[in-house]
Symmetry: C2
DNA sequence: AGCAAAGCTGACGCGAGGGTAAACGTGACG
DNA sequence: CGTCACGTTTACCCTCGCGTCAGCTTTGCT
C-alpha cells in the first residue's frame, strides 16, 4: 500500500529536529508563518519530502541573511511558479540585492574589527605602562 | 555664576540627537537602561559632558557588536573602577572574546557570500539555458 | 488668550524565535 | 487496570534595540 511509501517519506517532529538540528518550537513557528505545511495525523505533525526540501531552503536562506518573509515569498514562487524562468529571474534579482547588503556588512565588520584591534593595542600599551608602576611602588 | 558653565556643558535632548545622530527615543531608552544619567530641569533632560562621553563609548561599543548590557557593565567599570588597571584588564579580556566572535562572524559571512555567489552563477547558467529555448519554441 | 512645537510618560509592535506551563496522548511495566 | 514517564500540543509571556502612537505638560510666540 501507499502506507509504506508514506512511512518512509513522512517524519515526525523529533526526526526533523534531529535531522536538521532545529527545535520543535522552530518547526511549529515556521508552520505558523506558513513556511511549512506538515500534514496532521490526529494532532501530530507529519513532515513530507516537500517540507524537508523547503526547510533546507529556509535554512540556506537564513544563512544568506534573508528574512523569513522573503524566504516565504521565494518558496511560494518556487512552488506556484508557472514559469521557472520568472522564478529564477526574480530570485536572482533578490539575491543580487542581498549579496550587495552582505558585502557591505562585511566591509563594516572589517572596519569594526580593525578599530577594535587598535583600541586593544592602545589598552595593552597603557597596561604595560601601568604594570611596572605598580611593581615599583 | 556656574549657570554659564552649566549652559555650555549641558545639552538638550535635541542637541544631543543632532550631535550624535540618534533619536530622542534612543536617548530615553539608554537612560532607562541606566547607560546615561541626564539631570532634570523640571521634567526635561539635560545631558552633561559625562553623558556625552558615555554616549560616544556606547556608540562605539555597538559598532563592535557589544550588547547594551555589556556596554553598561564596561561603563560602570570605567567610572566606578578603583583601579584603572583592573578596568583595562577586564575590558581587554571582554574585547578579546568579542574580537574572536567578530572574526568568526566574518568567516561565516565570507562563506555565505561565496555560497550565494555559487548559487547565483548556477541560476544564471540555468537562465542562459532556458532563454534560447524560449526563443526557439 | 490661543496655538504650535517640543518634551514627557506609557504602552504596544517588530523579527525570530526561547522558555515554561498545562493538558493530552501513548507505550511499557507491574 | 492503574500509573509512571515521556513526547507533543496549544498558549502565553520574555528577549533586544529601538519605532511608533496616544495623550499629557511645558514653553515660547503672537
Amino acid at each position: 500500500m501507499n502506507e509504506d511509501v508514506m512511512k518512509e517519506s513522512l517524519m515526525t517532529i523529533r526526526e526533523m529536529c534531529d535531522t536538521f538540528a532545529v527545535t520543535p518550537r522552530t518547526l511549529r513557528f515556521y508552520e505558523a508563518k506558513e513556511l511549512l505545511f506538515p500534514i496532521r495525523e490526529g494532532q501530530k505533525r507529519l513532515f513530507t519530502r516537500r517540507d524537508r526540501a523547503r526547510l533546507k531552503l529556509i535554512l540556506r536562506g537564513k544563512r544568506f541573511g534573508f528574512s523569513l518573509e522573503e524566504i516565504r515569498q521565494l518558496l511560494d514562487l518556487y512552488h506556484m511558479g508557472d514559469s521557472q524562468f520568472t522564478q529564477l529571474r526574480e530570485g536572482l534579482t533578490l539575491a543580487q540585492a542581498h549579496l550587495a547588503q552582505m558585502e557591505e556588512k562585511r566591509a563594516e565588520l572589517d572596519d569594526a574589527i580593525g578599530e577594535l584591534k587598535e583600541q586593544m593595542a592602545w589598552a595593552e600599551t597603557r597596561l604595560a605602562e601601568l604594570e611596572p608602576t605598580k611593581r615599583a611602588s
